[in-house]
Symmetry: C2
């Protein structure tokens, strides 16, 4: 199979020599997801031409939804408002909502005004749900049936509505007020007999989510109960839409990226393919915050100028204190953040988790403290220095364990993202504590160390 | 809804007072995935009783597969070989393979010998595939049809085979040598008419994976092409089994956990619910390695003893150099590792990615270097100190960007896990470079700094 880069080169050559029909055939043979990378390698005029070709084949919409959203602005920039509106009008509502978010504020109203009224109204409705909620991720096409229908009648109904049957994995059984009563997996419909009624085939009391639920909650439900789709309901259990597993996988990947990024002080939009100036703008505020944090640590070290002046060897061990404390904190932080994301704390509890992390940190701190204390003694020939390093490591690792475990749990309890800023916060506090403990003990034992 | 902890308490009380029938009803009302956390909170004798109760209802197997695997040993310990074999015999092969891996070496053969011969043979076959490969994750129950079959005939076939239709989302069309020719989504079978033939309904040239492909590759295919299941084939394109999306979601979560853990120097099995002694044993080797790395940095600092003795203020800025370099390296590392995991490098390329990270690092290094150089000048009143800090930050951030981007890409190119050890390696090298640069420049400009 050709790499995306090779396909881009071929496509480019076809376009340059005016062989549009062949370019169209090449594009037609590709799967929607494979067109994304190719599109992202083109210049704006080329993008315009390719989108036109795809549009004629009703393939432009499905191609756009397959692009990483961070690449959308450059594609949008190459297209006029009317063309963009025509493409957007062909999308499922959840994809439309997502794409529109990446449109410049100034253009958004102009493009949306060109959408058919029906879609415009549905979009407005969807925008009433909170960002990253189930309501925004659902599609609004689904098959709702009455309890008394037979499998045969249900199959007929599906045939009549399902020009695009993409979303039909479950049928939803509702009462006369459209309240959700059960689900029938479509494979059940086939495997049962033609005369079985829905009341008989359905799984009663199905798992559903409220429209205002967080998308992370949806992802946890799908993962936990092995679902292919989750119905979205309002306060009165009336079905509003459906979230399918492919969208859930996107959410899972997004949330994992967010957590990893937040631990490193990165913003979600800072991706491998974002332009450098974009990455710089996103990273700079965090790095300046980190700089402030390191200067705070520097100031703490500065308080011990006289001690350092007396025993310069203390400075040698500062990397040991900071490196070990920082790593210990990040380990606890990673274990807890991941457990929160995967809903694993139900197998433990917040308090037990903190207790365990602290126990682990103290034992690991004691062992590495003994080793490093002994090494320091061998190197500098002063047993008190070894003792100071041992005490510092033990105390710093314990603090790292407490902070690493407690900070994300506290943020979570406060309704905040458990990972945002945790990394910088935990390592800074651990560093400051570690330096203060090490140099403080060094100051107290100054006479012994100078001996 | 009751929390798992509350349900555990109720269950415990029922068992203690001998109300087994009520305990059984309580368990029966729960979904398989909800029984896992409850089970994990019980004592060994309680586990034995609950598993017996579940087994009578044919629910023990489905409950075990819903537990985080790290909790399995304690459950296994509470069960005898025969009971365990009886439960395992009821599992899908992919789940069986996974569970058996968590069984103590000593017990494994004894338990496996008690499995029916057919399952034993299939299991042996499956173990010929590499760990974490598609062959190990597939289920071997699927529906294969001939091209000439009508939808009605296909539906009859499904009814005849599908006692448990869990895995039937697609039908696989094969030729007379069982080579995969196409797939028919089951919803297509329903939405088309009863007389349509498979050749007509099928999607030809479907996406498939070889049995020895890595499970991460399967996850990327499912994510990319929005599939519900992927057929697994041998070298000659003969269908061997199917991997379903629920297993793929597990793989996605596992791989994300692995990457996050590896960046922090953690082992995958060190989870929130693992006992403390287990976590200590897993973390200690990494922490000792990290200790060695920090001592290497300490030794480099020690080389500049005379410089530090002369200008003790240089020691104050060591946390700034290490903190900023380390964070810069981890940022580049995180962006690249995540891009590799999500297959996003096809939207860029390895070389372009390194180039971008270095550009970003240099610009961010220049800006934070200017700020920190100026702050250092204000604090210590020496312009040369500011200059040294500026130069160090610029160079260290550049090195951090290069290492953070190049290390995971190199590991990947060598066929290694891009995240294992990268974190410790990148931060150590960055720290050492940073200290050497800072104290080295300080040594060269010693006269100016002492002024």
């Amino acid at each position: 199979m050709a790499t995306p880069q090779e396909t881009t080169r071929i496509l480019r050559r076809l376009l340059a020599s005016g062989m549009q029909a062949r370019a169209q055939r090449l594009l037609g043979r590709m799967r929607p997801a494979d067109r994304g990378p190719v599109l992202s390698g083109l210049t704006p005029p080329e993008i315009r031409t390719v989108v036109d070709l795809l549009f004629q084949q009703h393939r432009a919409a499905s191609t756009l939804t397959e692009l990483p959203p961070e690449l959308l602005p450059q594609i949008f920039d190459a297209l006029g408002d009317q063309r963009l509106a025509d493409i957007l009008a062909r999308l499922e509502l959840d994809d439309l909502v997502e794409l529109v978010e990446w449109l410049d504020e100034e253009r958004r109203e102009g493009v949306l005004a060109r959408l058919p009224d029906r879609i415009h109204a549905e979009l407005r409705k969807m925008e009433t749900y909170p960002p990253e909620s189930a309501g925004r991720a659902m599609i609004t096409r689904f098959v709702a049936l009455e309890k008394s229908m037979t499998a045969e009648q249900a199959i007929d109904r599906i045939r009549s509505v399902a020009a695009d049957s993409e979303s039909i994995l479950y049928l939803y059984v509702v009462d006369d007020k459209r309240r959700l009563e059960g689900v029938v997996p479509i494979r059940q419909l086939v495997a049962g007999g033609p005369d079985r009624v829905m009341a008989d085939l359905m799984i009663p009391d199905p798992i559903s989510v409220r429209a205002d639920a967080d998308q992370e909650e949806v992802a946890q439900l799908v993962t936990r109960y092995n679902l292919l789709a989750v119905p979205v309901v309002d306060d009165e259990n009336r079905i509003l839409g459906v979230i399918t597993v492919d969208d859930v996988i996107e959410v899972i990947n997004e949330e994992a990226t967010e957590d990893m990024y937040h631990l490193a002080g990165l913003s979600e939009e800072d991706r491998v393919f974002s332009p450098a100036h974009h990455a710089i703008r996103k990273r700079l505020p965090w790095m300046l915050l980190n700089l402030a944090a390191t200067f705070l640590a520097a100031w703490v070290v500065g308080l011990f100028e006289r001690t350092l002046d007396e025993i310069v060897a203390l400075a040698f061990f500062m990397p040991v204190v900071a490196g070990m404390g920082g790593n210990g904190g990040i380990q606890a932080l990673t274990v807890i953040t991941r457990a929160i994301a995967l809903g694993e704390l139900e197998f433990s509890s917040g308090l037990r988790a903190v207790g365990k992390e602290v126990t682990v940190a103290i034992v690991v701190g004691a062992i590495t403290g003994l080793v490093s204390g002994f090494l320091a003694y061998l190197w500098q020939g002063n047993a008190y220095l070894g003792l100071v390093l041992f005490g510092t490591m033990l105390a710093t690792m314990a603090v790292a364990g407490i902070l690493g475990a407690a900070v994300p749990l506290t943020l979570k309890a406060l309704g905040q993202d458990p990972a945002v800023g945790s990394g910088v916060f935990v390592t800074t506090l651990t560093d400051i504590f570690g330096f203060a403990a090490f140099l403080g003990m060094g100051t107290i034992l100054l006479d012994r160390l100078a001996a």
